[in-house]
């Protein structure tokens, strides 16, 4: 189980899209809308090799943040959160690692993915994918999405102790 506040875990469970910010060349923040998956305290995102610049950025600097902020993507949940953490890439076998690790979670959020998988032959590179595993370290939470108020901040237990 994770240490993230319950409302944030709920956001992670329902969000169809979150915004991953990575550190690009020259220290520029680069943000990518992605489908976030959450399992046992870790956040999982995934990226096709087609759209893999973000993966290259993460290799250079694994520090990332994930924002859950769009109520349309969170099924009307107005809460907002930003989670900072360190990303690890799982890319030993881009053809099938992701199926083993996160397809079940992905399918729960986006059942339509099975229809795409049936026609994998049509777009084979889309299904060559790396998994981005984020270990959360700091969480900022805005109840009701009111960012004109200071967020509630929570640190990962180890980070808090340090």
């Amino acid at each position: 189980m994770g240490w993230l506040p319950d409302p944030v875990e709920r956001l992670l469970d329902v969000a169809l899209v979150g915004e991953l910010t990575v550190i690009g060349r020259g220290g520029r923040p680069v943000t990518h809308p992605l489908i976030p998956l959450y399992h046992e305290g870790k956040i999982y995102l995934h990226s096709s090799t087609l759209f893999s610049k973000k993966l290259e950025h993460i290799k250079r600097d694994p520090r990332v943040s994930l924002s859950l902020s769009d109520p349309v993507a969170t099924k009307g949940n107005l809460d907002r959160a930003t989670i900072q953490g360190t990303a690890r890439l799982i890319e030993d076998d881009p053809h099938s690692d992701w199926e083993r690790l996160i397809l079940g979670l992905w399918r729960q959020k986006e059942p339509m993915i099975d229809d795409f998988l049936k026609v994998r032959v049509a777009l084979p590179l889309f299904f060559e994918r790396a998994v981005i595993e984020i270990t959360p370290e700091r969480c900022l939470y805005w109840a009701d999405g009111l960012t004109d108020r200071a967020p509630a901040e929570t640190l990962a237990p180890r980070a808090e102790a340090a």
Binding site: L16, V17, E19, T21, V22, I23, G26, G27, R28, P29, V30, T31, P33, S48, T49, L50, F51, S52, K53, L55, E56, R63, V64, S65, L66, S67, S69, D70, V72, A73, R80, T82, Q84, E91, D92, D93, P94, H95, E110, P111, M112, I113, D115, R120, V121, A122, L123, P124, L125, F126, E128, E137, R138, L140, G145, T147, D148, R149, A150, P151
Partner: protein, 459 residues
């Protein structure tokens, strides 16, 4: 708030200097995310309210409470949109701006990049990104010390590499050649079967060969709007199979076709068959291969008409009868024309990349009106050949049933008017055009089979 936005091209298009249109577009997003890299080295991203000023080229941001947007480094803004659907989401679009925040609520963008799937369909966006996938996998291979390539299951890889479904284009003329021979009293089932198999091997070999040369010429790389009917197999573009691998596949298929062809020559003793077989292979290979490169010289459609018309149909006829005749020659014009029309329509979405690669296909050389009219003329000419063949006494009258497919040809022609400029909606038209050849071929076969049965009953 702006209600009109200028078209934005994206995909792997490089980031650009922001325009007033970008800011007008940003204003249409319901919320905005501001991001920066904090002093501790971690990125921060926070939703905030905003107003755009397209004239001034700036965005006014409400700084999130308790957080200071830095003024000494680049800041990013992201507007994004999805529309949840049952089981997923669509209407994906986003726009990202980078620039500086002045500490007084004003953000001045210096770079912009985005994607709107309504303007750049997902498939096109993906195709534009293929070079990025190749770069990534090459780098990953270096990091891991082993080759990491994309994969497909063997079944799908064979199907995709050989473009197996296009074999219907071989089946129609070969079967017609066989039934015409049968009406002349000549039919041996196992040579008929070998003809069909040998012709199929030759067709698949030519498909693979064409992919090799289209990849080497850059034509397939330049094509960012392939469809299931156009743009080649793309197995080499995707690095699913190497050019060397494709060469071995092509040689294997050619070898199998040649072996069957030689067996048929030995059985029939027909030197005509040698000539037809060699001509077929030469036309098929020369379609894209140097030095002739027929498709690059504006002769691709004619080459296909000859290959899938007289060569296939007469070849099948000669295997059974050992001789040439007028009836199969005239009849061969029908599948020849209709299969050339399959190529012709499938070339429409490829016309820009074909032009870039120097392929002078008809859609690269003529206006849409000329192409559409050309389609109608050739399709109707094919039906005129059927009618003329019957009236002239060359073909049996039951083959007139094939004229029932005229409305399908008209439907394809009408579809070309509507979907000419949209590769993905044109797919349905391309599919209907493929069906036209199958339906006409099937009806002609039915007409000949009725004739054969009638002859048997009379005797």
């Amino acid at each position: 708030m702006a209600t009109r936005t200028a078209p934005m091209r994206s995909g792997s298009v490089a980031a650009h200097a922001p325009t007033a249109a970008d800011l007008e577009r940003l204003a249409t997003y319901p919320h905005l995310l501001v991001s920066w890299v904090d002093d501790d080295g971690y990125p921060v991203s926070v939703a905030t309210s905003f107003e755009t000023d397209a004239t001034a080229g700036t965005v006014r941001l409400a700084a999130p409470a308790g957080m200071a947007i830095p003024t000494d480094r680049e800041v990013g803004l992201l507007g994004s949109h999805i529309h949840p659907t049952t089981g997923g989401y669509d209407e994906r679009r986003y726009l990202q701006l980078w620039g500086r925040f002045d500490g007084d609520e004003t953000f001045a963008p210096a770079r912009a990049w985005g994607w709107d799937e309504a303007e750049t369909p997902f498939f096109e966006y993906s195709e534009r990104s293929v070079p990025q996938s190749r770069r990534y996998l090459e780098q990953l291979s270096k990091e891991k010390g082993r080759t990491i390539r994309p994969r497909l299951s063997p079944f799908w890889l064979v199907l995709r590499t050989t473009r197996l479904p296009f074999l219907t284009a071989t089946a129609v003329p070969v079967l017609l050649g066989i039934v015409v021979a049968a009406t002349d009293g000549a039919f041996t089932w196992w040579t008929a079967l070998l003809t069909l198999i040998g012709g199929s091997f030759a067709h698949l070999a030519i498909n693979v060969t064409n992919d090799i040369f289209d990849t080497l010429s850059g034509a397939d790389d330049a094509n960012t709007t392939p469809t299931q009917f156009s743009g080649g197999s793309r197995v080499a573009v995707y690095d699913l199979v190497s050019i060397r691998g494709l060469t071995w596949v092509a040689l294997g298929l050619f070898g199998a076709a040649a072996a069957i062809g030689l067996l048929l020559v030995a059985v029939t003793g027909s030197l005509l068959l040698v000539g037809i077989g060699v001509a077929g292979i030469l036309v098929g290979v020369a379609y894209t291969a140097p030095p002739l490169k027929l498709v690059y010289r504006g002769l691709g459609e004619i080459a296909v008409a000859i290959g899938f018309g007289p060569i296939m149909l007469l070849g099948a006829y000669v295997v059974q009868t050992g001789a040439l005749a007028w009836e199969p020659l005239v009849l061969s014009m029908v599948p020849g024309a209709l299969i050339a029309l399959i190529l012709f329509v499938n070339e429409i979405p490829d016309r820009r990349s074909d032009a870039e690669a120097g392929k002078r296909t008809l859609p690269t050389r003529f206006s849409p009106d000329v192409i559409r009219t050309g389609y109608l003329v050739v399709a109707l000419a094919a039906f005129a050949v059927i009618a003329g063949g019957v009236v002239g006494g060359l073909m049996p009258w039951p083959t007139l049933i094939a004229l029932a497919a005229v409305p399908l040809a008209l439907r394809v022609h009408a579809g070309l008017k509507v979907h000419y400029d949209s590769p993905y909606t044109l797919m349905a038209v391309m599919g209907a055009n493929v069906n036209l050849n199958l339906v006409v071929g099937g009806l002609l076969l039915a007409g000949y089979l009725v004739t054969i049965v009638g002859m048997a009953l009379i005797q």
